[in-house]
Symmetry: C2
Subunit: 381 residues, 2 copies
């Protein structure tokens, strides 16, 4: 019967609210959902019984009236997050509200093959299993892959840096672990995490561009929902044309954003062989030589062109820069914003802000977990 569907919908709404904004009082939930006091009471009650949420002591807010207890996510439900990279496979256990409970980085000598990744993941999960089964309830696995992923069936169509091509990742991982598996592009999951727990909290139209070692990926949230596109490949801002006179990139495109704006060129002018994010950023902030300043400005110039196209087509309220793009912007404060302002349609620009990613190294763990939690949040029963 349909009352059932209504219930599910309401449970989903309340659990999602608690997940996104833990600590809201029952009274707050009543206001936010528009449901009746008694209904919220019943919904929260049911979820307490199901070990999805817990009620905390009423916080005394110095306010007239009976205190309303806070509602927070229960610690039991967890998701497993996996992120294969060029030199490691990171596996995490993440609770609701985006709490990373555990993170295990398994380094590999060479880029892992899919089968290696699955083997490593299964082994780590096997090791964690006692804990997962006693203290927690695992809702599934989310995988963040640096490449193009067909989200419908979790097939990695192309992940050049891992040298993966049409790999049925979800299927293999389900087989090896028994858990439900969802797979998506890493940048799409990055924006999911930033939207829910980071710089994009509560904003419903935003874009995210992430600068990685090997290229620029991104994600789009429009009207409050993640835009995946027809197959899940949306968000590849790295291939936007920014310079008709530029060089060809790996895919054969001329003057794409990735060709003009990249980490390698920054490392070159800084005279560094390799560097992690922090070192690169410190080097950029400390640099005074003209070549470095010029290169930073050159890259920001090209970045601004891609951002303008995105602003004009998507009219976001917020642009989040992750990876080395955040460092690049920080190295010349205000410069990028002024360029974008100068080149966008005035009215489209007036409402947009540019900011850095707020979630640090946990970003992909949280994003991948969010993907796995989506099922639970959509249907808490």
């Amino acid at each position: 019967m349909a009352a059932d569907r209504v219930r599910r919908h309401n449970l989903s709404a309340v659990l999602t609210l608690v997940h996104h904004s833990p600590g809201l009082s029952r009274a707050d939930i009543t206001k936010a959902t528009g449901l009746n006091r008694s209904t919220v009471s019943a919904l929260v009650g049911e979820m307490v019984e199901r070990e999805l949420v817990v009620e905390t002591q009423a916080d005394s807010r110095n306010q007239v009236g009976r205190p309303s207890p806070g509602v927070e996510p229960h610690s039991a439900p967890v998701a497993i997050a996996i992120n294969p990279e060029i030199d490691a496979v990171t596996i995490g256990v993440v609770g609701l509200r985006g709490t990373v409970l555990k993170r295990i980085r398994h380094e590999t000598a060479a880029p892992p093959t899919v089968r290696e990744m699955v083997r490593i993941s299964a082994a780590v999960i096997e090791q964690l299993r006692p804990e997962l089964e006693t203290a927690h309830r695992t809702v599934g696995i989310g995988v963040a892959v640096p490449g193009l992923v067909r989200t419908s069936d979790g097939v990695v169509r192309l992940a050049p840096h891992l040298r993966w091509h049409d790999e049925p990742l979800a299927e293999l991982l389900t087989e090896a672990t028994g858990f439900e598996v969802s797979v998506a592009n890493d940048a799409s999951l990055g924006i999911l995490a930033e939207r829910t727990f980071g710089a994009g909290r509560g904003i419903s139209d935003l874009i995210y561009l992430n600068g990685g070692a090997s290229g620029i990926g991104g994600g789009i949230i429009a009207g409050g929902t993640a835009i995946g596109g027809a197959a899940g490949y949306a968000g590849e801002f790295g291939h936007t044309l920014v310079n008709s006179a530029g060089r060809r990139d790996a895919v054969g495109l001329v003057g794409s954003l990735e060709v003009e704006v990249n980490r390698a060129a920054l490392l070159r002018v800084l005279g560094l062989a390799s560097a992690d994010s922090e070192t690169l950023e410190l080097a950029l902030l400390g640099a005074t030589s003209d070549t470095v300043v010029d290169e930073v400005r050159r890259q920001l110039g090209f970045l601004s062109i891609a951002l303008c196209s995105a602003v004009n087509t998507l009219n976001p309220r917020l642009i989040i820069l992750g990876g080395f793009l955040g460092a690049l912007d920080a190295a010349a404060p205000g410069y990028l914003e002024s360029l974008v302002a100068a080149q966008s349609i005035g009215v489209s620009f007036e409402s947009v802000r540019i900011t850095r990613a707020a979630l640090g190294s946990d970003l992909l763990m949280i994003g991948a977990a969010e993907l796995a939690f989506e099922r639970l949040l959509a249907d808490p029963k």
Copy 2:
């Protein structure tokens, strides 16, 4: 009580279905919505009473079993569509299922001011009022404006060709007519119409680019819903960079799509002073001179660059070309598609098709009406 909300939702689902696909039988509706036979019966019954739908004779489909009557939109509910242009104001009366019942084009000597447009519209509506009040029930007014519109309050921020700037159109029109008014960008409404009744029927990820006399606008549908952006300005593909060495456009952008791909340049190589869409297309199709062929290919080349950026960022299943862009593509069949294929990320391109707009001159009437109908469809009570 919430059952009320459920009812509303179900009524909305059924009415939307009937609006999009008139003539479905009640049995079809049952299958499409997943609701129970008896529920659909009650819902349709209520909407028949409210004069929202009518039941037609069962079509004999040579099928075993009791025939199921067809359900079609009632002719009573209508929306008023208004489209101000540089040389005219067009006002239409449009029924559900996208039927344009009446279209009145009121020509103006000069681009109408907002107040003129409101005056003309109010006068025409006054004239139509007897008919609207007896035979029909008017749900509201939708306006398609060639410019940037803040959809939240119906303020036209900027419509350069009409020379409008920050005009409170919705407010003025409501005051003058008494109807509820919604305003949006013309291209955004074009895609709405094409998605619902034209080339994009049933497709949930598509983009639309419209080539007009004065520029290129567009719209985006992602995940089945129209992407408006933070303020409603999304879809301005015309300002995408396609040529770093290009000229400046009216807004001051260098080498934007609008600068390189435009109607005026086509008319110039064709030796035409002015032309309507049909004349332009015939001239293009009939032309054999190298200058024309070269110009067509040049423009298609730049168009392909903008399309690639859009494909890579939005991963649509369909690209619809309207206005002179459709004619341009028709003048060199297959050329544009091959260019886009060559420059996009392979997997992103494989699922995309390029096609022409299917709705002709009624496009904006239907789109604007669709905007006005949205309220009714969302809540048929």
